[in-house]
Amino acid sequence: MKKSARSWRLVLLVAAALAIAALVLAVAGCGGQTADAVAPAVPGDPSLTPVPMSADTILGAGASFPAPLYMKWGSDYNGGAGVKLNYQSIGSGGGISAIEAKTVDFGASDAPLAQAELDANGLAQFPMVVGGVVLVVNLDGVADGQLKLTPDLVAGIYTGKITTWDDPAIAKENAGVKLPSTKINVVHRSDGSGTTWIFTHYLTDAAGSIWAAGADKEIAWPVGVGGKGNEGVAASVQQLSGSIGYVEYAFAKQTGMTTAQLQNKDGQWVKPSIASFNAAAANADWKGSLPSMYMVLVNQPGAETWPITGASFILVQKDQADASRAKTTLTFFDWGYTSGADGATALDYVAIPANVYKLVEKQVWPTITVSGTPVWP
């Protein structure tokens, strides 16, 4: 009796030790994942959300700006080819980490990566879609497209040098528009965003003598209040008369906000439109951007060009392991280039012009290989 009790205790002890070890391991495992979740590597780690890894599912992760379009393309394409797209809209930072860690077939970023960073991770980069950023205002008696702003005026407002709407500098360009004497209320994005990246590059490029705060996804703003996302900026602008903010074109159009005209590099006044973004993309010197395709589309030449335009980029590994997966991915993007324009226009995005995507397919895609053999065509 006594002996059996002791042996039971031994068994229990061993069981307890095993249980604790298992728990500790499980927790350590979770800890490891938390570590990753904190580092940007994991936002895109698909191991957290198991997805079927079959060859007919393309995995992508990254920028949120083009996400609605990629998802629409995914479902449109699915109808024709039986290939599914699983795109996780986790932000450009997460998308870049995910493609660097090779946990996805492609990453998406609103800002292009520099050549050095592409080389460090063996990545190829190409533009997939173009979008415009527009200035929206809330001014009594000023209609959509009526207000005219030069780059110097925009920079003056966003540095706090121009503080009221009846400033002579604004009035000079806006003869016939009745501008109130109200204070200019400046609104910018508070979250890190590709929209801010494009807008601040525009200010740096087009009004560099006035704008000194630099260009990035978030910057130290000299003046103004922050709104979270396009909707946050729009809410702030709409709540206070005299406000000015910048949002994505699609958002401004769908919510019917009052946009301003801008003077472009050729000195022409332009209103934001799909055609004016298209002009910016078509007139840019993409050949000169090879091989990285690092291209900032702001302030491009052309009479019809909208000056605050930006491209959203795709990142893929140059050295692919599986030829059929790589081919499936590129075939999907080829379909997006050649047949996705209508889908893009329907959502107020701009497809990449033909001269640009032909360049991509001829110059960039051949660098994507499986043990030295190009995957495309």
């Binding site: 307890a16 249980a19 604790i20 728990l23 350590a28 932000g91 990035d216 003046v223 702030s236």
Partner: protein, 314 residues
């Protein structure tokens, strides 16, 4: 006695020990992970994260003093509003109103706790922001209060609508149900005979509430306050919507925009590509973690002192 019955106790002890250990491992693991990932910022940026206000990814400067100040101010304001209000409501529900009314009001307050924080953010931006901007601040500036330092919003800002004050007010409503519900439950546990003894001595209702109920329940109430404090410190979405997200300057007024640690992390993390920035954001997470731990320790120590002074009852 069968064998299985004798097994129950040791098995349970092992399981309980393992679960207890798992909590400790998770907690220390989390701290370790935060330290590990924030090390590039801690060693590369030094104390500048804590002592400067220059938050500028363009220049690779990540000073988060504004976020620390905003977190402190908005949380303080929330607690100043919510704690007295919650205590009054809890006393009202337990001591003063008809039980049927108490049930209805109590349920309503508990439902307030179930509302997702994004809803508070949206109600805040569409209702409270315009109210504060168009009504409260202009009115406040006509009163003598308007002349006090820290009230008049900076001329460069949008008239106090999105501000630390707004974030604090909405935070107060978010923590109110937690503090109220816990305080109410604690006050309910004050023995009826103790209160009746007070009335028997000729005490008024106020004296019984103040000298018997509140004193009897004080440790539970402190616990309730700390639950609310923890929520207010870490609240992200609603604050991100309402605080104005000004990362680069210290607020001169309660009605100036600012930022908080949690909202700064939430707003900038997903698009952060600069490795040092990611690390600095994780360091901010570590700081928030440490603040919570220190608050817990203070709360525990305070509770122990209160218990001693009230003769060991908690």
């Amino acid at each position: 006695m069968t064998r299985s019955l004798r097994l129950g106790d040791p098995v349970f002890r092992v399981l309980a020990t393992a679960c207890g250990l798992a909590v400790a491992v998770a907690m220390f693991g989390l701290a370790g992970v935060l330290v590990y990932n924030s090390w590039p910022a801690i060693s590369g940026l030094g104390t500048s994260v804590l002592t400067t206000v220059a938050w500028s990814p363009v220049d690779h400067q990540y000073g988060a003093l504004a976020a620390l100040a905003g977190t402190f101010l908005s949380t303080l304001l929330a607690m100043v509003i919510a704690v007295p209000l919650a205590l009054v409501i809890a006393l009202l529900l337990v001591e003063l109103v008809h039980p049927a009314v108490a049930r209805v009001v109590g349920t309503a307050i508990e439902m307030l706790a179930a509302i997702p924080s994004i809803i508070f953010g949206m109600v805040g931006i569409f209702v409270i922001v315009p109210f504060i901007q168009d009504k409260l601040v202009p009115w406040l500036l006509t009163t003598p209060l308007g002349g006090l330092p820290g009230i008049k919003p900076g001329p460069q800002f949008q008239g106090g609508g999105v501000s630390i004050f707004t974030a604090g007010v909405v935070l107060a409503f978010m923590v109110l149900p937690y503090i109220t519900a816990v305080s109410r439950d604690v006050l309910k546990m004050v023995p009826q005979v103790t209160k009746e003894a007070g009335y028997g001595m000729g005490s008024t209702t106020w004296e019984v509430m103040h000298k018997i109920s509140l004193r009897y329940a004080n440790s539970g109430i402190v616990g309730a306050v700390f639950i609310g404090l923890g929520r207010a410190l870490g609240e992200t979405m609603a604050v991100a919507f309402l605080i104005g997200s000004l990362f680069t300057s210290l607020p001169r007024s309660l009605f100036d925009p600012g930022t908080s640690i949690a909202s700064l992390i939430a707003l900038t993390f997903s698009e952060a590509t600069d490795k040092i920035q990611v690390s600095a954001l994780i360091e901010l997470g570590l700081i928030l973690f440490l603040i919570t731990v220190v608050l817990q320790i203070i709360a525990q120590a305070w509770l122990r002192r209160v218990q001693r002074s009230t003769g060991g009852r908690a």
